[in-house]
Subunit: 248 residues, 2 copies
């Protein structure tokens, strides 16, 4: 797993990256990082029955602006699984539980499945590098965002697709890598870094609000986390600027 920051890693220029892209703040920043690092970049979006269409619209808009090919897969599994507020319209989004436990927005196995699907798709494209915006620092109680999870999944996927057969390290030719450039960044850090990467213009079109609202509701856990990050970074959120201009 590469936690590559600046400066860019010349070794990745010979490789192609596949970004797991939700149209949100973190994966948009990662998409810009990938465009800087890799020789070429593609993106994959998972339509898993989210509450609203705003996410896919954001993803399509940003990918198109950046001329990145975007593949959309529809996954009905999580809706059928049910029991969480992100796919179940009848459940109210709850803030993070104080005692530790899992928030009711936890979709069990979501990132595991996204990354496994992405790896299968990458296999058919001959791509050995996945990029995901998961972040342990602000992981919202989701255990599948943690570094330990991603590291072990990187092993499992590389083995399962026959890419790590000869013990190749992930960052060498033939090895399989999951890149998590945001893993240990705070939200404020990520905002600074997005500015450095030239991602702010894309972030104006990114989607964060759990309620699917534009302008964002400003009250759900996702909106609050985003707001805190931009405030601490001392940078105006381009999404709010866009909203204040009435530019939907």
């Amino acid at each position: 797993m590469s936690q590559a920051g600046t400066p860019s890693s010349p070794s990745l220029k010979a490789r192609r990256g596949l970004v797991v892209f939700s149209g949100g703040q973190d994966s948009t920043t990662c998409l810009h990082w990938a465009l800087r690092e890799f020789g070429s970049v593609e993106a994959v979006f998972f339509d898993y029955g989210q509450r609203h269409a705003a996410e896919i619209q954001a993803a399509a808009t940003i990918a198109q602006r950046l001329s990145v090919p975007l593949k959309v897969f529809k996954l009905d599994f999580f809706r059928e699984l049910g029991g969480n507020a992100l796919v179940d319209q009848a459940m109210a989004i709850e803030a993070m539980p104080e005692g530790g436990g899992l928030p009711n927005t936890f979709v069990p196995g979501r990132n595991l499945i996204f990354l496994t699907y992405a790896a299968s798709y990458a296999f058919t494209r001959g791509i050995h590098d996945l990029v995901t915006g998961v972040c342990q620092t602000d992981y919202s109680g989701y255990p599948d965002c943690r570094d330990a999870t991603i590291k072990s999944l990187e092993q499992a996927l590389g083995q399962g697709l026959g890419w790590n057969d000869s013990g190749r390290p992930p960052t060498q030719a033939g090895g399989f890598a999951i890149h998590t450039p945001l893993m240990f960044r705070t939200k404020a850090d990520s905002v600074h870094w997005a500015a450095e990467l030239g991602a702010l213009q894309s972030l104006a079109f990114s989607h964060t609000c759990y309620e699917g609202a534009f302008p964002p509701c400003g009250k759900c856990p996702a909106c609050l986390l985003r707001k805190k990050g931009f405030e601490e970074a001392g940078i105006a959120d381009p999404l709010e600027t866009r909203a204040s201009l009435g530019n939907a």
Copy 2:
């Protein structure tokens, strides 16, 4: 990961097992093993666009005969991914390539995705033990059937669902385990063991043939592998006996 054989492990009696069930020979044998080992057993079937309906019929018949609850999930992903003979009606099934390489029946990530889905479903049922019939000995060139793959996936899934947080070993309370009782058995071994487990009657209703035929075609790689196992074990295949009786 437990490679538990005989005698039964008393510790599993307090746990519930979820069997990844295809209605085939290996997972049917595993289902019987699970029924012997666990306090209670459920099964999950993945309808991923296989060429024919024979698999799901076999799974439903066997589960019903054994009074095991069977949950079916429909996965369109592999069909959309395409490019392999198991989901693509236009491709002929090829025997295993001689030089090594991957057979054209390789569905990239299939077992990774089945097990990840099964773990997510198990999470919602409070189940910590998966059982799968994957086998390294006769792995047909599929890298996701190997022990190294399953061991690393066990880690990733346990971490990703928050089950291995406190470093609990898979076989202790709270830990997450993938049981692979057939991993190091030859097909002949598995047939002997199926007889020992009392699974032969179920195997009469199991489905193996890639062509979806009943009586089985006897010529596809899956039929040949099954035939070889029963012959080497010196046991009559109850599926052939059933076919010869004209009992569809």
